[in-house]
Symmetry: C2
Subunit: 490 residues, 2 copies
């Protein structure tokens, strides 16, 4: 005993002594009513000061782990030792009851596990050039301004920031984002805004809170795989509409709409994941018209809308829809700014937001006030604009390089991506990008096979190339290697 | 035009000009291809420097809102103006399609709204002495140490903290909390830990991810109202077990268990909300035995477990259960430390945690890394221990004062609360605390009527008095007023 105690230098010593003794008691190394060493003894045994032991004993007494006897020292409180079932009766109940949790979880949890790409996705070895991520490059983050935003906000609001906030969100951020949406051309009259833990929570609130009359959602094919996972987990069937170079195939959309009814449409009009396509203004209006005639609400995923490198501004669907209350916009800065800060928002009809606010309150109370207030101050200080300029310049260079390399090296039939953080390539229909991936992994390159984005089991001949976190040299070298491997397979 | 432009001093001027012009374009005040004022003109119209206007114009051009014509100035990009459906065809589609969202939301969302106490709870006027909150008193927060923890962690890890994290949680915090649980006597072998957005997310993950074979949960009666709300929202029927001064009525528990099967038991063994009762060690062991025999998993709400003022340490159920994998512990520092930081945790069987991790990833990706890393550093620095001493001393004084005042003034039949941040009073069965509340509100005092905590529509004669955020003077004055009003009603 005591020889395994090791003192760490960066944590108060008395806490370490206290924790160490607690563990001795709770693991049964100390018995009920056993006498503890004197403070002098323990101080020499653990090689800490006597004051440290005195403070630790005082705390343990205060927390009800030990009790003093006048002039005799300290003793272990019986309830602190041998607290377990069966400990008192000498292990009479030897056979311990076990629950088979696999039998207790339902289909929803099982689907979540099966579709968990972090668990079952691509395992690339160290040193691999990986095109699988479309997260922002953290080297671009301006930590100094983030620190300043934190300290600024703390000195303005102080302690209040650390107590409970509101389910709807942090008021200054809500107001900021309402103006932000208006600047995108959104008519916010009759609409409202709810802060969410990123896009994902917003989408989940909707999927949980809306009626499933037809159990079917219409979306692009391919589309965002996390969205596919969640729609399936909620029991929806999906109809995917083919993508053309300027967005949805409108003819096919009309056809499918005539075939059967839908509860919802889920669309990613800008820098669509995974194709990188920006839907044209004309098609946006057409899609809204067709869905509006059938009273089908549209969930608009504002994914990377801010990442425009060139070309005209294209208004989001919720702006195109004008006064209509049909579009629910899910926004997030996470994809370009700071994903670690889990802040997104839902802009939609007031009445709907009111219900979603209550569902959010029931599920997560509210989004971290610290995240929200820091983000607000960062935006308010004008840092986002500066960051965006730098990030756009950087990503644009990478985009052009990656695009050029793909054209040069990849024997692909089609390449899409109008900007954003990724490109999408389609080979001839018989090609299998899973086979290509196997070959590439051996050569230290990884990418995302496109099939995970398809609603109908298709896309085996496609791939997504995320370049945001890959250096220029590695973009060139990596795509060359993929291209060579592809030619060998063809 | 332009006369309504007002320059705020705390935000870069060029951004304000840019936003102002964007709004003019998107709201239709500018037409497609309309010429903008020259930079010189606009600078004088808006009373800002010409550089400011030049920067704003450059940005707008870059974002695709305006285009330049050599030597002629800047013009509005057509897509930036008149972006709405119907704008191009002169409003041909006059009758705008509206969705009746009330018809679109389901029973789950409606229940959330109905049971939303923030919307339908007690409305107390300004200056009211309010005993409704059991949130911590933010005056106790040590902002300096929170700032230090933030800056410490930022300088250790930097940018990485702002990029995506893991669904399971921030590794150093997970490791810290595993040790923390072991110090409570928990055998973590075969168990694991998942970080959640507070208790509420953890509880929701379980309710969504576990099978509903019997659609029934066993819990204390009364119990935590947010838990009741969520269990009902998930379609569970509740059986509430009567509370005695040392916890659950074990006889009644046995009886109910013999009557019918249950999917789950939800228990709050320490500082039970709302009664403030700490379940005795003996009853903990009995409850575990009875539930274990029937293979019923126990969700243990570790609510305010840290807030012990006096008495022996009482091991949590998950520690009492030893090697068994039956207990799921939901912990949170939010209730005493910082509720604004949405960090809680679930400690349970490894296999179960693995499923819950995937459900969490599907629903919120992960908990704010900033919150987690700040909390970790704060804990690691030993600040929690210091804070807890100060907080306990403060709450203990308030508890004793409130307790004394209740005994002196309240004509209650029973008073409970072994510490924590609240007391619970029961009057004679015919008494109506809702009537008392009406009378008290008129005299500027508010409390929480107990009925919201009951699973069976009972508790009309009970009330919860939360004192954590009320000053000593107001505790005395408020309880005296409640007492006098109660005597008048009796």
């Amino acid at each position: 005993m005591y020889s395994d105690f090791e003192l760490a230098s960066d944590r108060p010593a008395y806490i370490q002594v206290k924790d160490y003794l607690k563990r001795l008691m709770t693991t049964g190394a100390f018995q009920a009513d056993q006498k503890l060493p004197s403070t002098r003894e323990l101080s020499s045994l653990l090689r800490v000061s006597r004051t440290t032991v005195l403070t630790a004993y005082a705390d343990l007494e205060d927390e009800g782990f030990i009790y003093p006897l006048q002039g005799k020292g300290h003793y272990v409180v019986p309830a602190a030792a041998n607290a377990q079932v069966g400990a008192q009766d000498g292990g009479r109940e030897g056979k311990e009851q076990r629950i088979d949790w696999k039998q207790r979880v339902n289909g929803y949890a099982k689907l979540a596990e099966e579709h968990d790409l972090m668990k079952h996705g691509i395992r690339a070895g160290k040193g691999t050039i990986s095109f699988t991520s479309i997260a922002p490059d953290e080297k671009l983050f301006d930590l100094q301004n983030v620190k300043r935003a934190f300290l600024d906000r703390m000195s303005i609001e102080g302690n209040v920031l650390l107590n409970y906030g509101y389910a709807k969100g942090y008021k200054p951020l809500i107001d900021y984002l309402k103006r932000y949406m208006e600047n995108k051309g959104v008519d916010m009259a009759g609409k409202d805004l709810l802060i969410t833990n990123g896009f994902t929570e917003g989408f989940n609130l909707l999927l949980s809170g809306l009626n499933q009359n037809h159990k079917r959602i219409l979306c692009e094919n391919p589309t965002h795989n996390t969205a596919i996972k969640n729609m399936r987990m909620h029991g929806f069937e999906l109809t995917g509409i083919e993508m053309e170079q300027d967005g949805l195939n409108i003819g096919m959309l009309r056809e499918e709409l005539d075939k059967r009814p839908y509860d919802l449409a889920y669309l990613v009009p800008s820098y669509h994941n995974p194709t990188g396509i920006v839907m044209s203004h004309h098609k946006r209006l057409e899609a809204i018209r067709l869905l509006s005639e059938r009273h089908i609400p549209i969930v608009e995923d504002g994914f990377n809308e801010e990442l425009r490198y060139s070309g005209s501004h294209v208004a989001p669907l919720i702006a195109c829809a004008g006064k209509s209350n049909q579009v629910i916009y899910l926004g997030s800065f996470s994809k370009i700014l700071f994903p670690g800060l889990r802040v997104g928002w839902m802009a939609a009809d007031k009445e709907l937001i009111d219900y979603m606010e209550s569902v959010k309150r029931a599920r997560t109370i509210h989004t971290s006030t610290l995240d929200q207030s820091l983000l607000y101050q960062y935006l308010h200080n004008g840092n986002f604009e500066k960051y965006l300029k730098r990030a756009k310049a950087e990503y644009k260079r990478k985009y052009e390089l990656a695009s050029e390399c793909c054209k040069k090296w990849l024997p692909a039939k089609r390449l899409s991506g109008d900007g954003g953080l990724h490109l999408f390539a389609a080979f001839e229909p018989s090609f299998r990008t899973r086979d290509l991936l196997d070959a590439c992994l051996k050569q230290g390159v990884a990418f995302t096979p496109g099939d995970i984005f398809y609603t109908d089991g298709g896309g085996q001949h496609t791939m997504r190339i995320g370049f945001s976190r890959v250096s220029d040299e590695q973009i060139a070298a990596g795509i060359e290697r993929i291209g060579k491997a592809a030619r060998q397979l063809l």
